[in-house]
Subunit: 526 residues, 2 copies
């Protein structure tokens, strides 16, 4: 096994974590200074987590981000240190899995069953990668034994951080968009009536007709099974790592605070628990000036379109790329496109392809006319924050649901990327750019989104510090965890009351019968 590495602002220390950390100054300002362990999830999930880690470090806390040696997005930052652990596979293996995302997209002509099979194979590959990564951290005994912290900040979608927190006996702060099988709602004891709370992957809104409610109710009934399927391996890992008979659901219900990356301008209003804090749009104010080479691209009179497809989709299949180029050739706007490969030869002059784009800074520019996005939550919040209407081409995960939410607000259109044509795209772009209703709706929604008593990043940092200061937030946790499901729904009480009513009815009936018999006997005697 390779040695344990600890990096701070690029400097690598070899050896155990704690000795190295002791060389770091305790922090600049802030009344309370604590030690925070960050166990992030890679990919776009890192974006919000990084913002909080940076801000916590900037406020003087000692922040340590624990990360695998191979990552997609996670990396060092100015205000936190990193603790790197080795993996049993190499970068080529990760790249191979990521490249398969493109394959899933490019098989529109394939038979349905084959496409489904391809999707499942890819999900299997990714979950295996997640499990192996988690095990590499959890069963790295020398690393785990060195951890001394006040709290853990983590993404509960992959419960590695929550397991470490339970092992160390310290409280957890979760940052998440939501867990597909509603495990977050189960673990917080938050009611989610299927009559108006649409489930993941259904693409439904909060206004459902009867048929849609049937679908939503069925999906909600299948959630416990879905959770079992998604987390069965982690349930085993939990038992092995914690050496106790406990599953992921129970471990997650320990969590002190749940920072939900949602906002009710995008999410449909629904019940919340006191330890759930909506912090959607965390990155809105995390801004930098635009690089100079982008200036001519954004200063044109007709404005420009921003086009990105998220971190897990580095390039698209060629046939889809050509559809986009064909449409872009016919619009007067310039296009800035995040595209990792070499630009195709027939790229029109108004299109600039870049392997990385400063998305939030571009959307904040007054020239941004439209945002073509895969509808990942971070991108949507950035578009919402800067009031840019959207053409949404969801690919997977929560993206179709996110897109449905934004479309229901009249701030964008949704297109199916696997069967997209240049005409569809052109029509979509024309609609959101030239039909002023989209921009007006977006400005209204954006004003509501930005009008909040406290900035979501500050709020996230506040609650993280709160948990560190008070060693948890038990007073915000509902007593629902002391109840089993039939107690929760008062089924035992209902059974008792029903029995009493039944006994009463039976006794009354018997009494009446008895009286009637007496009466009729008496009449006969008369």
């Amino acid at each position: 096994m390779r040695p344990l590495c600890l990096t701070l602002s690029g400097v690598i220390f070899l050896g155990g974590g704690s000795e190295a950390r002791d060389n770091i100054p305790a922090g600049h300002t802030g009344a309370y200074v604590g030690k925070l362990l960050v166990v992030p999830m890679d990919g776009s999930h890192w974006v919000g987590m990084k913002a909080i880690s940076q801000e916590m470090g900037r406020r003087g806390h000692r922040v340590t981000v624990v990360m695998p040696e191979i990552t997609i997005l996670i990396g060092p930052g100015e205000h936190y240190e990193t603790l790197i652990y080795p993996l049993p596979f190499d970068k080529a293996f990760v790249d191979f899995i990521m490249s398969k995302n493109e394959d899933v997209l490019g098989k529109a002509t394939q038979p349905f069953l084959e496409r489904i099979q391809e999707k499942f194979s890819q999900i299997k590959r990714i979950t295996e990668l997640l499990h192996t990564t988690a095990e590499s951290l959890l069963f790295n005994a020398s690393l785990i034994s060195h951890l001394r912290f006040d709290a853990v900040l983590t993404d509960p979608m992959v419960p590695t951080g929550s397991l470490i927190a339970r092992k160390l006996g310290i409280p957890t702060v979760n940052l998440l968009r939501g867990i597909p099988c509603f495990l977050d709602m189960q673990s917080t004891g938050c009611p989610s009536p299927p009559s108006y709370v649409p489930r993941f992957f259904t693409g439904l809104t909060d206004k459902m007709d009867f048929k849609q409610r049937v679908i939503n109710t069925l999906v909600s009934a299948l959630e416990p099974l879905l959770c079992r399927l998604i987390y069965w391996r982690f349930d085993q890992i939990a038992k092995e790592f914690l050496e106790e008979d406990v599953g992921v659901a129970e471990v997650l219900s320990d969590s002190a605070i749940w920072l939900h990356r949602i906002d009710f301008t995008m999410e449909f209003p629904r019940p919340f628990m006191p330890n759930m804090v909506p912090v959607g749009g965390i990155n809105c104010n995390v801004r930098n000036p635009l690089p100079e080479d982008l200036e001519p691209w954004v200063s044109g009179k007709q404005g420009f379109v921003v086009f990105t497809l998220g971190t897990s989709m580095k390039k698209m299949p060629d046939e889809i790329t050509q559809v986009f180029l064909e449409a872009f050739r016919q619009i007067p706007q310039k296009v800035i496109w995040r595209y990792s490969e070499v630009a195709p030869d027939n790229t029109p002059e108004n299109v600039k392809m870049m392997s990385w784009v400063p998305q939030n800074d571009l959307l904040a520019h007054p020239g941004a006319r439209a945002f073509i996005t895969h509808a990942g939550s971070h991108g949507l919040f950035e578009g919402l924050c800067h009031a840019v209407p959207m053409v949404m081409v969801p690919i997977g995960g929560d993206q179709p649901d996110n897109a449905a939410r934004m479309a229901s607000r009249g701030v964008g259109v949704v297109l199916d990327i696997s069967s997209i044509t240049a005409e569809d795209l052109l029509q979509g772009l024309n609609e959101v750019i030239n039909d002023t209703r989209y921009k007006e709706n977006m400005k209204r929604l954006s004003a509501l989104h930005r009008d909040r008593p406290i900035d979501p990043l500050d709020l996230s940092v506040y609650w993280t510090e709160f948990v560190m200061r008070h060693k948890g937030a038990k007073h915000l946790k509902a007593a629902v965890h002391d109840l089993n499901w039939f107690q929760y729904f008062c089924l035992d009480v209902i059974a008792l009351l029903a029995t009493i009513v039944l006994v009463f009815i039976v006794l009354t009936a018997k009494c009446l019968k008895f009286c009637c018999r007496k009466l009729s006997r008496k009449r006969k005697q008369d």
Copy 2:
């Protein structure tokens, strides 16, 4: 009918409201300046409402408090104007009703049924007073026709303000502790599982045994009926005033924002809706220096006890007063007692009786050792804010529930005031003053209570301004109001699914029967 009066900072203008208001300067600072109508409820309910009205006015909004000519607590303030409407009864009538509160308390020796009858008579008197007051405002056509505002701030317990808002077509901000029959929860569509959300008047906590859950479930099942009983007269007033077939529940469900005067250090954690904002402890920072004549009373080495029984209980029956005096005689602390009548002759030297006490300022003093309170929510929040352990003697309303909540936190003891003895009181006082666990628990709870991302008064003002800026807060309102109760619980969906399962079972059984018959016939043939 007497002329309509409008007063601003004590100056009385006779005549219509709007002309007079136009003489008032528009306001000092603040990016957005609007016009807010405040329709308060009298008594202790006014305390928080006044704080918001003052702060809104201070921020430059034009705030108009509409109040009856006879009030208990409502009065003019520095930063808002008042609009006074006449009543068909006089002050003596109100004083008579208020004096009856004392009678209810002093009849501990009376037979149970008589005491209940006395209580119901008093409730009837108070509700009649509330109805007549509401009608005097609502059917004062010349006043109502003059109202031009951006929003209404009101206490929905008496829905006068909500009715006016609906008539004027403007949004409502509610400030409330909670409505006894959970009408607030019904109108926001907020789930309140009876398995861990204790009901009003039960004195239960969030941890209930089976018997307690039976009681709580029964009370929750009776809530709709209770609401009907409490609001039947207002339902009629609503129909008459709005000239449409609408009840109070529906009118309240229009409300944009619900500012709940609760905090989860006192209230048990429970589900909340996005348009419900907990703002308990609104008055904690509204402070003034202590009057000079109180200085010798608070500076003693042994500290002092604060004793108040709220606005609706000006004095106590003599026999109970003597019990308190007897106990106070035996403690080394000084006592500052809010007592409206002349002090009895045998008042000991360490007791100072005053017709009004600066309660929050006294509790904030480091010498405060204990707080004897009727457990009204305002008092409890002030005690909690300044970490003063409590002896609670609840009288009525939400007080027994509030007391149960605080006692369950180990920060005070509860005594029955109608059967109290000097020994009980002495023991209670000794316990909370000398058993350090009470003070320690209180300090911990107080630290949690005061550690909030934004001050509750600022938060209340923020959401009031939000509603004025955006003409409501529709994006925070759950789609639950579009559903009837069987749709909400998906009973139609469950019925369909149950039918399908039933048909499937019946068909399978028939098939099996058919097959069996065939098989047995074949066997017979063989």
